[in-house]
Amino acid sequence: MRYAYYPGCSLNSSGLEYNMSAQAIAPLLGIDLFELPEWNCCGASSAHLQDHTLALALPARNLAIGEDLGLSLAIPCAACLSRCKATEHAVRSSEETHTLIESLIDRPYTAAYPVKSLLEVFIESSMDLLQDKITKPLTGLKAAAYYGCLQARPTDYMDMDDPEYPQTIDIIIEAVGAEPVDWAHKTECCGNGHPTAYPKIGSRLVNRILKQAEISGAECIVCACPMCFFNLDMRQKALGQKRGRPFNLPVYYYTQLMGIAMGLPPQKLGIDKHSVNALDLLSQKRYIPTAGSAAEGGPA
């Protein structure tokens, strides 16, 4: 299956690991991520605070390019996804908006090809193939699936399987042989940019999620959004210091776990780049060779 891959600005920066892992596993699972040519910023987090029309027009251009290619967009970043889905919804539900947007981007856009999250793409088209490709099932790993807020809401158009109790990441966790834990904060907000701008509010939100994950017995958190990943991974150290007891919850993208289960080297998936050491847990569980033997025993 071919998709127009829209990395957005974060996948080559803060979300590099997501990009690496997704690009690494996609071809193995029969998914062709063709990068959208001449893509522009989706405007997330700032455009819709400035100008509502602009906030629709920015993603519309990308969507129109995709439509021109006859491809659905596959979007890894939850914020990009949210903006694109918002545009798609607005164009579909009002002929007036539709005309306005087309005149602004100066090309036709009919919302004919549904926008998909990368998560959705993997769930829809690769689950069967995945079963054949798994060489190292992650047996015994307890993982908390964390979806964040943007993938699930607003419920009108985000089409998550279940906005209050989503299952898609849990399904992937099960598929790679690990054990998803049941916990209450799957869709709680991680605070997005707030931990930087308003540390008091932001860190409380992150803290709450980490604490609940810990209580649930999870050994790691699995997410599907670069912003969530960033917050949960990078803030752990400071929050641990603050409470006087460190958190030790490696955070993975679901694509990374899929890669490991398929026997790909962790470096190729960017697992060596996390703030919270994410390699140790994997080697402890013997999913990857221990750090010492890595040099000689890398996969072929």
Partner: protein
């Protein structure tokens, strides 16, 4: 030759000051068909009416046009008047030259010209008027009440007390309904059972009431005064005549299943009465739970029954009974809060509904009245109440307010504070609505005397943390987020229509609204009638209601039933639709248009002239034609417009009559 008399009324000066009545009367004389015309100061007065009667006799008039005030004012008066002179009342037409002419115009010339036109129209129509006679339908003096909750019981008692026979149909093994499950009633805190069960006993012992429990209405045919209702008596497997109600069978029954009456918080046997005071107090066998029906072995109850009442061969039975009137009191059901993902999709055992709570505090309930939380049987110290779960929530529930929740939540919170030492009751609410006698006072008591904490805001999420429920919400008055660590959460779930309400409504021929509550005929003026004559509503099947309102409506419905049954027969308005079967093609377009289900198709067999192409020699065909039930038809005429060939026409407002009016100008 038809002879029309025209009578122009001055109405004092009301008409005469802007309309030249003498001129009108003169002009009317020149109209075709008019044989006599005159004017008078007050046509509706005695002398005026006498004048009309005399003119009818003297001039042999066979149609009368009165030009006067609105027909809505005096049509009945003048119909009676012409009838007094031997004319059929429907040969009268009124020209409305007061409300729609003299009072709204000031130019006398133009007003007079318009009045002339109005008379011309009335004469043209009158010439096409035909005699109409009301038809009479007999009233069968027996009433059916469907639903044995408090509304149904009350309606049945009220009807029965006036001397008419009433059948009370209930689908559960016992009457009593939701009220039987409730512990105490607001605002008086009477014990619900203490006030309900005497009424149940009254109903059971009333010589005019027959309780048909464990039965459902299968089919309703007929119309006002003559409903033929088919009732399915479900197999109870217990002979009600032989059974003494000793209860031994229930005690010994080895099959257990969740008790619906106890909101699945305890178990009951397969042969059971739902609760100790059940009426009729004869057990039934729940075939789905019964070991014998599942495995073919057991029959313990049959062996143990001293009076040999258990009969495993019992079958459902259909009976058809004729009734003159029907009261629908099928009640409500509760919103399934499992749809609220943020409240845990029903996976937290200590998040319960208000009705569950009623059973928890009830002395005969699963916990003998001790408030214990379902998960571990501990006494909860902090109980959170959340209102408007499914009510006033267009996204997931219903738009409407369920009306009773504010009060019962106040009641529940009070009971928590009352029964549990050192307890805390926190109520999350959107608004407090207490529009009933002593309701506001009751709520204030909960706040002031019992110290219930009211927080204005919605709860966004409930989750478990270390075995406790964390209730995360917002206090919109303080503008802060709050977290409450609760031992138990009680949801005030919305009252909603029974799941099978729409299907039931179609079955018996009444309409329902967008929430599947049954429609009253008029929201203000006919609150207990339905659009189907002879069918009345009582209780929460019509919309969310508390007990006092349900009882009041039941009484009102009973009064309507009694008024209907007190007559031996009923005259129906003769302005009804009529089918010309020669023109009717049987397309049935009229059928769905009729709001009263007054039109049905019947099959005719007839010989046709000429040949049915390549038909049998006999040339006899069957065809369907529409048939109007004059008892049900209310004369709106909507069917006539959907009848392309004009085979359906509305008497009193026929196509010919209306065209005559159009053409006359």
């Amino acid at each position: 030759m038809k002879k029309v008399g025209v009578f122009v009324c001055h109405c004092g000066t009301n008409i005469a000051q802007t309309v030249n009545c003498e001129q009108l009367a003169e002009a009317a004389k020149t109209l075709p068909g008019v044989a006599y015309s005159t004017e008078y100061k007050y046509m509706c007065s005695d002398p005026g009416q006498t004048m009309i009667k005399k003119a009818i006799e003297e001039h042999n008039l066979d149609r009368v046009v009165v030009a006067a005030c609105s027909p809505r004012m005096h049509e009945a008066t003048f119909r009676k008047c012409v009838n007094g002179a031997g004319l059929n009342p429907y040969l009268l037409e009124i020209a409305n030259i007061r409300e729609q002419c003299s009072w709204v115009h000031s130019d006398k010339t133009k007003a007079t010209a318009k009045a002339e036109d109005l008379i011309r129209m009335a004469v043209a129509k009158a010439l096409k008027n035909e005699k109409l006679t009301p038809s009479v339908i007999p009233i069968h003096k027996r009433a059916l009440v469907i639903g044995g909750g408090i509304a149904g019981i009350q309606a049945a008692l009220d009807i029965a007390d006036t001397g008419y026979q009433v059948d009370l149909v209930e689908r559960e093994p016992s009457i009593g309904g939701k009220m039987a499950q409730i512990d105490k009633t607001f605002p008086t805190m009477d014990c619900s059972a203490c006030i309900l069960t005497p009424k149940m006993v009254d109903a059971a012992q009333h010589p005019n009431i027959t309780i048909i429990a464990y039965s459902e209405v299968e089919k309703v045919e007929g119309y006002v005064g003559n409903f033929d209702v088919t009732i399915r008596r479900k197999a109870t497997c217990v002979d009600p005549v032989k059974c003494t109600g000793c209860g031994l069978c229930s005690q010994k029954c080895p099959s257990k299943t969740d008790s619906e009456f106890e909101c699945n918080m305890s178990q009951r046997p397969a042969i059971y009465s739902p609760f100790p005071q059940a009426i009729p107090n004869k057990p039934v066998i729940d075939q789905e739970a019964c070991r014998y029906f599942k495995t073919g072995k057991c029959k313990i109850c049959q062996k143990i029954c001293a009076s040999d009442a258990v009969n495993f061969e019992d079958q459902d039975e259909l009976v058809t009974i004729r009734y003159g009137a029907i009261v629908v009191a099928t009640g409500y059901s509760l919103y399934d809060y499992n749809q609220y993902g943020e409240y845990g999709y029903g996976q937290y055992p200590d998040v319960i509904s208000g009705l569950d709570f009623e059973r928890l505090v009830n002395a005969s309930g699963p916990t003998m009245g001790k408030i214990k939380r379902p998960s571990d049987g501990q006494e909860p110290k902090t109980v959170v109440f959340i209102k408007c779960v499914g009510s006033r929530d267009a996204n997931r529930g219903h738009d409407y307010c369920s009306r009773a929740c504010c009060m019962y939540t106040a009641k529940h919170a009070t009971m928590v504070r009352d029964k549990i030492k050192d307890s805390q009751a926190v109520v999350f609410y959107m608004d407090i609505r207490t529009p009933g006698k002593n309701y506001e006072e009751f709520y204030l008591r909960a706040v002031e005397e019992y110290g219930v904490t009211y927080v204005r805001g919605r709860v966004s999420r409930i989750y478990m943390e270390s075995g406790n429920l964390i209730v995360q919400g917002e206090d919109t008055i303080l503008g802060t987020q709050i977290l409450v660590v609760a031992d138990m959460v009680v949801l005030a779930t919305a009252m909603e229509a029974q799941p099978d309400a729409a299907e039931f409504a179609r079955k018996i021929g009444i309409t329902f609204d967008q929430n599947n509550f049954f429609n009253e005929a008029h929201p203000k003026l006919r609150p207990v009638e339905t659009f189907s004559a002879g069918i009345y509503l009582a209780g929460a099947c019509q919309g969310p209601k508390d007990i006092p309102d349900s009882v009041a409506q039941a009484g009102a419905a009973a009064a309507k039933v009694v008024a209907l049954l007190s007559k031996d027969e009923m005259a129906t308005e003769p302005i009804v639709a009529e089918v010309n079967t020669n023109h009717c093609s049987g397309c049935g377009f009229c059928v769905p248009v009729c709001p009263y289900k007054a039109i049905s198709l019947k099959t005719l067999t007839e010989r046709v002239h000429g040949s049915v192409a390549w038909g049998p020699a006999g040339k006899e065909i069957t065809r369907q034609v529409a048939e109007v039930n004059k008892g049900l038809c209310q004369g709106c005429g909507a069917c006539t417009v959907n009848c392309r060939s004009g085979a359906l026409d509305l008497l009193g407002f026929t196509n010919e009559q209306i065209l005559a009016e159009v053409d006359s100008l």
